[in-house]
Subunit: 238 residues, 2 copies
């Protein structure tokens, strides 16, 4: 099993946010026995990052001013870069990226439609919260991949997502508009529910008698704790 | 004056396309006396590339299949990379990118709206033809910039734009649908007209008595020749 930071199975600790809002998990829960097939993982995460890119590109296109556009374009570039790195991993294995991503298109497209929101702020919150939660989740899941690709995937997904611009645009708007804050708090709660369902369905089925749920639960507790800190950081009640 | 490939003013030769469809001008026309202010140039080209990125991102989002999405996402990444490199040049000069791009927003947004087209194929053709023509144009214009930035800008704009996927999608569609070919040929003619107007308006005013038009004309002849070769390569009559 791969661990690139200390692991003490008896004690789960939620990921911490550093100054830039980047998730930095300090402890890990063992879900390695639930590890997916490498190509399955790569195809799914590659399409997930493409989906994140498409949402961020829409946020760029609909940004109210140039400075916002500029910051968001950096985040879009990060998601696209992650996507292309994952595609390269698939090609390195002699497979066609489109083939490996295909099984995930319908589900993730439907999820994207449900999580796009009704305006620019809901879209931004979705990019930030869904992106953060799923990156955290897939970092956890990568723990069960073979050593080389597991480490590379985790490092790639853990890279700065360039979301500072999203956070700062949201913080300013929420501070200045209480009604918007209430609406976004509700939207955030709905997003976390939908996203956790996607994460749950992305986990490969473990042996039914193996206490799967017991092992999954602390992982989801961690993910939710990190999500709550993101909400707090924006001034939203989770 | 900067030349990073041979220049013989008496003989103008249109840019050639190499195997990947990348413009490779072999001769240059002297428009260096029409050179713009560096920040003016950088702001304009940076927003131009952001605009190209937005069009390509829309093409990704509306692509009919995963393979097309995949190829287009590479082109979108290239345009975004060019944009970010130009932004970095502006920052290096101690200026705020948003400020430098602001004067070009209305004009280029309006131009983008006019050149988006009515469907995916028109959008693809627009990305390819407008992007190619304006990159060629700004490479020419960069010739009059101070040596260091002029060379860097030209090299950056001359980099592979990743448009193979656009070309191949268009070629296939045009070959299989004669009506689409006729429609796209007309669209291509309209695009070149609108794009040349943008290029003309992007040139700084030279001294009225200096034979400006006489110097500009061969540049535009070159640009049109390269455009015609792009159209030919797609199977379209220019």
């Amino acid at each position: 099993m791969v661990t690139w930071f200390g692991r003490r199975p008896q004690r789960t600790e939620a990921p911490r946010l550093n100054a830039r809002g980047v998730s930095q998990p300090t402890e890990k829960v063992d879900i390695s026995s639930l590890a997916p097939d490498v190509l399955h993982f790569l195809g799914q995460v590659a399409y997930r990052e493409l989906s994140e890119f498409e949402k961020l590109a829409l946020a760029v296109a609909t940004a109210p001013d140039l400075a916002a556009k500029e910051g968001l374009s950096a985040a879009a570039g990060r998601a696209l870069g992650k996507h292309h790195s994952l595609i390269a991993e698939i090609r390195r294995r002699g497979h066609e990226p489109s083939d490996e991503m295909a099984p995930f298109v319908d589900g993730l497209d439907e999820f994207r439609r449900k999580t796009t929101g009704v305006d620019w702020y809901e879209l931004l919150l979705s990019c930030y919260l869904v992106g953060g939660l799923l990156d955290d989740f897939f970092i956890r899941l990568s723990d069960g991949l073979p050593r080389d690709i597991g480490v590379r995937a985790a490092r790639l997904l853990g890279e700065d997502s360039g979301t500072e611009a999203l956070v700062s645009a949201l913080q300013t708007a929420i501070k200045n508009d209480q009604a918007l804050g209430s609406r976004l708090a509700m939207w955030g709660r709905r997003l976390v529910g939908d996203t956790l369902l996607v994460a749950r369905s992305a986990m490969p089925d473990a042996d039914s008698g193996g206490g799967t749920e017991a092992r999954i639960e602390p992982v989801f507790t961690e993910l939710i704790a990190a999500h709550t800190r993101r909400m707090d950081g924006l001034g939203l009640t989770a």
